[in-house]
Structures are given as C-alpha cells and as structure tokens.
C-alpha cells in the first residue's frame, strides 16, 4: 500500500513538474509575437498563440483552454495598451501563475516599449472604443519589431540564463537580416509615399506612419463600431472629391463594407495579411512585411 502511494505520488509529481522541465513556454496573445518569440527563442521555447490571424484580438473570450495555457506559461508576450483588456486581466487572475504577472520578467507588453501613436486627447466612449494609452497595433512598424527583439532577448535571458548565448545569437542574426530587409522595404516604400487609403479600422496606423501613407478615412464610423450605411454613403461622397488608391482591411474584418464601397467606386479593396499567417504568403514576419508592400504596390499601380 505504501509502495503504491509512493509510486502514485511520484507519478503525479512528475506529471505536474513535466511541463516545467521542458522548453520555456511562451504564451503570445497575437501571432506576430508568437512568431518573434519563436525566431529569438528557437528550439529553447515552445509558443502558444491565443489568437490566430483570422481573429480580432479585441474580442476574445477568456476561454478555459487559454486559462490552462497561461497557467503553464513562463512568459506572456502581448501587445498591451488595452488591446487585450477584455480577456488578458481575467486570464492572469484566473490562471494564478506568479511568473507571468505584471511587473515580473515573464510579463512582456510590446506597447510598454515603443512610442504609441494616436494617444487620445479626449477620453469619451461616445468616440468609440478608444484606447487611453494610444493605438495598440504597434507591430506594423519594423522599427518597433527591432526594439522588441532586444527587449525579448533580454527577457528570455532573464528567464532562462543557460540559454543566454543562444538568445543573443538569434537576436543578432535576426536584427542583421531585419536591418537589411528594412532598407529594401524603405527603398520600395518611396513610391508609396502619400498614397491615399481608406482603412476599415485604425489597425494600420503604424504601417501608415512608417510608409507615410495618407489614411483618409475609416469604414468604422467610430473605433469598434461596425460600418453604418449612412457613414458609408458619406465615404462615397468623399471618394468623389478625393482620389483613393485602396481600401485596406485585416483578414478578420468583415469584408461586406469594403466590398460595397469598392463596387460603388472601383477602388480596389485590399486584404493585407496584418499579421504572421494572415495569408498563405505571410508565414514569417519578413514575408508578412514583404507581402504587405507587394499588395500596396499593386493597388498603387492600379489606381
């Protein structure tokens, strides 16, 4: 009986400690951060993504599976700036995992490390679902990615000191390739300067800032509110007086409003990948930016 108890408790203990012995578990809220963690962490990390490219990270439920995943994670890597305000705080509290709580090395929010754009001067919900700290979709400026590579590598070193050299090497390798890619992208981007676009949601602010695109209007009347017919009609009026090259949307935005406007005006409606895995050609951060530029170039050339 005693032997059985010992065996059983040993089995349970090994079951409980098994995940801790394995690779560093990274809980990424969005695919872009999962991809980055995988690039820098390599085979020393195992990444779980809370959302896929087809999901809007604003609106996710604190599902049981996410609580279980966060419970076992060593690093939580998210956008922050209230993008995940509806579900991240509950996950953190319910999962009860000490290492990933705010203030710990295992808690990394991208928005805390880059300059946020569009911090509202007026906070009022009649203006829609505004984010008090600024626009949270920070990953679409490659400069922000560079900043986060360094921050992430530091965190991974803190959490897994034996892997320090590994993370440093990966970060250096990534940054070298990234610098080169950015130079090329910026060369291509010269042709896109001041390209006038209409966007579905203000998800493209950092991209527009980087490429100097001219965001003329949004399909949403207010951030977070679905497009209304009266608002779309006013946009139709607008396109008569202002030339627009493209209507941009993410893979998760419903396409009806964009398609309606495209049909009425002949302006191409373009679904950009938005994040890693946003379409078949966007399997990595490099490919995703590349694909985004290609699609913009196509639209710009057409118009």
């Amino acid at each position: 009986m005693l032997r059985l108890t010992i065996l059983l408790s040993a089995a349970i203990l090994s079951l409980l400690s098994a995940p801790a012995m394995a690779a560093l578990q990274v809980f990424a809220c969005e695919p872009e951060w999962a991809s980055l963690a995988q690039e820098i962490g390599g085979d020393r990390v195992k990444t779980i993504t809370a959302t896929h490219a087809g999901q809007d990270a604003h609106y996710v439920r604190a599902r049981p599976s996410l609580i279980a995943a966060m419970r076992r994670s060593d690093l939580v890597f998210c956008s922050g700036a209230d993008l995940e305000v509806g579900w991240l705080p509950i996950l953190l509290r319910k999962a009860g995992n000490q290492t990933v709580q705010p203030g710990q090395a295992g808690h990394l929010l991208a928005a805390d490390h880059v300059t946020l754009l569009e911090a509202p001067e007026k906070l009022d919900r009649s203006l829609g679902d505004v984010h008090p700290q600024g626009n949270p979709h920070v990953h679409l400026n490659p400069a922000n990615i560079s900043i986060l590579v360094t921050v992430l590598a530091d965190r991974l070193r803190d959490l897994d000191p034996p892997g320090s050299a590994h993370y440093e090497r990966n970060a250096e390798k990534f940054l070298a390739a990234w610098r080169e890619a950015v130079l090329q992208w910026e060369q291509r981007a010269k042709a896109l300067r001041n390209m006038p676009v209409v966007v579905h949601h203000k998800a493209w602010t950092y991209l527009a800032d980087w490429l100097a695109l001219d965001q003329v209007a949004t399909l949403e009347p207010k951030p977070g509110l679905p497009p209304t017919s009266s608002h779309l009609t006013s946009l139709l009026q607008l396109t008569r007086t202002r030339p627009i090259k493209a209507i941009l949307r993410t893979p998760y935005d419903p396409d009806d409003a964009a398609k309606w406007l495209a049909k009425k005006t002949g302006i191409p409606s373009v679904q950009l990948p938005f994040t890693v895995g946003g379409d078949e050609q966007s399997g990595t951060l490099f490919l995703m930016f590349d694909r985004t530029l290609t699609l913009l170039e196509e639209a710009n050339g057409d118009g």
């Binding site: 409980l16 087809g54 999901q55 609106y59 996710v60 049981p64 509806g86 805390d112 679902d129 509110l225």
Partner: protein, 448 residues
Amino acid sequence: MFLRALCAAAAAAVSVWLAFAALAAEPDINTIRQEIQNLKNLYESRIQALEEQLKTLQKKETDRSTKAASAAPATSGRVIRDNAFNPAIGVILNGKYTNFSADDSEIAGFAVGEEGERGREGLGIDESELNFSANADDKFYGHVTTAIVREDGEDKVELEEAYLQTLPGAAVIDGLSLKAGRAFWTLGYLNERHSHEDDFTDRPLPNRVFLNNSYNDDGIQASWVLPTDLYTEIGGGIFRGDDYPFGNGGGNGVEAWSAYARFGGDFGADHAWQLGGSFLSGDSDGRESNEGGVEFVGDSNLFITDFRYVWAPTGNPRQQELTVQGEYFWRFEDGTYEDSDAGTGAVDYDEDDSGWYLQAVYKFLPQWRVGTRYSRLSPANTPNGLDGSALDADGQTPQSWSLMADWTNSEFSRLRIQYSHQELSDDKDDQLILQYILSIGAHGAHQF
C-alpha cells in the same frame, strides 16, 4: 647715422606718395566702402541663414530627445496624481418594461424566496449596480458590488459582493486563489455571474427556486487551477449559512460548505467547451420563503451539473457566435416545512426535487443575437401533512419557454426584447419584457 637719414627720407617719401595716392583715389573710396558694405551684408545674411539652420537643428535634437524619452517604458513618462490609484469603477444601469398576462406567479410545489419571485410589472428600473475593484497591493485584489433595488416601494441598497481575492503573488502554490467575504460563489455556471451579463431578462426557473436567483452568502472559497493541458479547476468553500437556500445563520456561524470541479478546452480554434459539477450543503435554522409564509428548518443539499459550449464560426465571437448552455439541479432536504398561510404546522420532510434549463443564443450579426430557453422543474412528493400547502404541486410540473432578441450597440450598451410563456401552476402566464442595459466606466470582462 646714414641709415637713419635714409629711413626718414623713405618714410617721408612714402607718406607723400600716400597723400598723393589718397588724393588721386578719392572717388574710389566710396566704391571700396560700398564693396565692404556688400561683403558685410552678404556675411550677415549668411550668418543669419546659418543661425536659422542651427535653430532647426537644435529643435530637431530636442524633439528627438523627447521622443527618446517617451520611447522608454510608458510608465516612466506618466504624471502621477493622487487619483491615479482610484479603483476601476463601473456602473450598470438597467431598466425594464414588463407585461404579464396572469396575476398569479406561484410556482406549484416550490417555496420561493423573495429574489426568485417574478419581477415587478410595468415600467421600472431594475437593479442599478455599482462596481469598484482594484488590486489592493501585490497580494490582494478587492471588489465591491452594490445594487440599488426597489423593494416594497422603497429604494434599498444591497451589498451583493464585497470580497478580497488573493493575487498570484500571495499564493504559496501556483494557481491557488482564496476569496473571502461576500461573493457570488462558484456553483454551476450562472451563479457566479452578475445578472446584467445574462442572456435573458430573468434567471431560469431552477436558479430562481433553488438559489433565490443567486447564492451570495458570507464565506471563504479556495480554488486551484491545475497545471494540466486540459483546463481543470477544483475548489470549495465554507459559508455562514445566512443566504438562501439556508437562512437565519445561527449556531457557530459556519453552517454551509461547497465543493466543485470544472474542466474545459477547445475543439480546434472555433469550438470551446466547459463542464462542471458543484455541491452545496448546509443547515438551515429557518429559511423563509413565500413572503414569510413558508419556513424550512433542516439540512439542505444541492447538486448542480453544468455545461457550456461556444462555437464562433470564424473564430471571431464578435461576428458570429452560438452558445449552448444548460444546468441540472438536484436537491434533497431533510427537516421540517411549515406553511403558516395554509396552517400546516411543522411537518417532517425528507424528499428530493429537481430542475433544469437549456438555452441557446445565436449571434448572427455583430450587433444582433436571438435566443431561446426552456426550463422545467420536478416538484418533490409532498408528505400528507403538506397537502394544500405551497409545497403541494398537485401533479403540476412548472415549465417556461422564452424567446429573446437583443441589439448590442457597443460592448457597453444593449437593448433586449423577450417573450416568455410560463406554466408554473394552473395559471398560464404570457410575458413580454423590454429591457435596456448600460455599462459605464470600467471595461467589462469577456468571460467564457
């Protein structure tokens, strides 16, 4: 000597020549002056341009340094004010128009507490709720929910929740959390939730009769999320035994306890499920119901099993979502019932009764949902002594059908219409309910 004379002569010659030269060049001096002036102007304009350039450069430099400062972690640039640590405040406003076809709302075979009764008819506001919550420090989180309700023609303040919860930083074991105070305790699915989060305007029949809408006694509850792939949470609590289904918590002040377990996971990215079982047991030293007409003294035990399934066809619950949810309640009680309205006296009672509900809600457009719900109760076999009392079901099985549609403008406002057909006793009741729910202040949670 000779040298000196020579020098003097040379000097004199030079000065004479100079004088002549000056005389001869008189008209050119103006030109030279002009030239010099031109040069001066040119240099001045150049200097001005350079100064201008320097200024812009300096401005750029300061711009860059301020940018660099703001690129540091966002926290470093914030202005800290005294109110920076104010708790998150949320206010829920809630109003209804209700129309009933039947005057009577008795539920055959069940004694019903005050909250579990049918609501007021006509125009009126429902619970107005005030929520305050914040982390007290690194170890504790505090939460208060007060509701202002209309009862017996008066506006009363009810303290629905006032609890502390340990934060992960306080736990000795990862995943362990303690909650102490008054809270909507974990029992089945709905009990934990505030009524404004419900998908229907009223709670289903079993929650009304077995929990008086919701169990929020004073007590302590522990919960532990296990580090497993499958979401597994176990927990339990001890309670004062003051709130329905107990009452009059006399004795030593620990009259009830609970235990629960729940599991959950995903099927792919679009399907999620949760399954749970809860048990609540305790002593009632006098549970009053039917407006004081019925009293129960004894042991009351309640077993609840619940499930919830959510399907978001595109992975985006914002766009489309189907939720199916149900709970089954089974209660066995051992004690005495007395219906003073029927003059039964205290009658020995050792019976069980049960109830369940099943509901489906479908969001077909981002702002529109429709739903349906069925609930049903199975009354106990009443002892002879209770014939003709509120506990005597007289062969009835109370049941209720509901249909609802709601429009959610943003995450913070919702309008709803609901039709219910209730057969709770001999009287059939057709109900029409219009409701608004407004949430101002802190952002609510997207619970599963």
